[in-house]
Symmetry: C2
Subunit: 323 residues, 2 copies
Amino acid sequence: MKVLIIGAAGMVGRKLAERLAKDGTLAGKQIASMTLYDVVPPEVPEAKFATDALTGDLPAACEAEKLVAGRPDVIFHLAAIVSGEAELDFDKGYRINLDGTRHLFDAVRAAQYCPRVVFTSSIAVFGAPYPEAIYDEFHTTPLTSYGTQKAIGELLLSDLTRRDILDGVAIRLPTICVRPGKPNKAASGFFSNIIREPLAGQEAILPVSEEVRHWHASPRSAVGFLIRAAEIDGAAIGPRRALTLPGVSVTVGEQIAALRNVAGDTVAARIKREPDQLIIDMVGGWPQNFNAARAIDLGFKAESTFEEIIQAHIEDELDGRIA
Amino acid sequence: MKVLIIGAAGMVGRKLAERLAKDGTLAGKQIASMTLYDVVPPEVPEAKFATDALTGDLPAACEAEKLVAGRPDVIFHLAAIVSGEAELDFDKGYRINLDGTRHLFDAVRAAQYCPRVVFTSSIAVFGAPYPEAIYDEFHTTPLTSYGTQKAIGELLLSDLTRRDILDGVAIRLPTICVRPGKPNKAASGFFSNIIREPLAGQEAILPVSEEVRHWHASPRSAVGFLIRAAEIDGAAIGPRRALTLPGVSVTVGEQIAALRNVAGDTVAARIKREPDQLIIDMVGGWPQNFNAARAIDLGFKAESTFEEIIQAHIEDELDGRIA
């Protein structure tokens, strides 16, 4: 079993590589080698199998061919220009998120074998207005270029799967929360900031009202989703290869209540309300809730409460300690 | 008002050009010039405005730039490799249907103006299983490469519209029936053949059962859809720029009953039943019925009975005469 992770320097890619290094197996098979690829050098975890790290520019000529030359059995394609940047830089977003993905798929086709390709899509493929809970048959009408590029990637992946060029699974990740690391300026950052910073003894800014509802899963669940997507029998999925994954739908008020339940009043009191109209307006168009029936039937598992999401963060990032 | 028709040599493109030549106006404005473009030389109808015909290969370098250089106010993009051929020839289908469309949109972006772009999509963006009537929010999960390429075109068009790069309307045409001309080998050809040939005094082969249900509109309606898509206020459509158009949902048995109503028993008796398992299997996965509520609200009009579709054919193609 040879594994390739494209986008291995990102938060989820790094955690996936660590988990595979620890497990030593994927889809019931021993991992023989793992290649980590990104535009910046990925960290290489300690592993009992051969692991190498490469850097490069995915849509550049021959780059995807080089990655596929070793005929990896499972390709995780996580690389993307994120939502905000793809919106600001039209050419860069289309070049990496659309052309890069297409080059990868073309390279697999040229190599004439049929690997499992796990493609991280996003709930950004959906655009308001939404039903109360977005169901599996709801259409994809993205309101960002990033969401458009992900929806196109899903369509290509399903078509190439149908033609036996590759064996694809596209997974629409919930917003990943609690993101480890520093607070960032992403519009969605506050969902993590208001949990992570108070737990570390720091103040956090809440720029929206407590009524805002959103869809979350932990980084630990994200890694679990990727592994499930790599091992699942393609025939069980059928031709509709894009799956909306399970998550936890909570309001910001429920997030804060969960933080209080897990860590107490002192920690929860570290959240400061500072409304920001720009963020309020953006978040107003985001999905709030899903019915991820297909993915749940196919064995994808997320947390069932926001308390569990906080506990996962405390265990995985804070060694069990709250400040 | 300058008009460009890409794919002007096809059946619908030719009829659109004739209609615009006759009307002399589009979207309430005098047409000053019309450019007809296709891979083979388009017929040039007699018109009171300047009309020229060009041939070329849309995805070739600089081709789209050349077409857009005259800054047409309305661009009809009808050019496509059809379903069967796009399925047989992977590269050709993606090159024309995806790359060609993208080059056109890129050329519009480079020209830095915001024309109305009418893009003919297809009900092939949908894939079985379906609800009893496909509704406007139903997802696009195509089961052909052609349908995939059309769905991608819709996504690009909506994103570029949102970004004010162009002002797009994508219309998902029903199966066009009755197609004029000779019987062809397209799997869907029999829907037209069983009407057109008997009306012309010829036998026609019916390869499927009379229970098969499908979704139709006349060539006359197709032209009407294109003109409506060119004139409609974009703000009334909103950001979801792909519209499923109205049509008539009938079984083959109902098609034959309508033929009998319009033209009598002798004509209807010219249909011979010769089941063809290959066609039966293909047609089994096709859409049967739609609820095109949005497009109807937006003023798109189709026939309301199959008799009207037959009458349109008799008037427009047979000068009112039945053999």
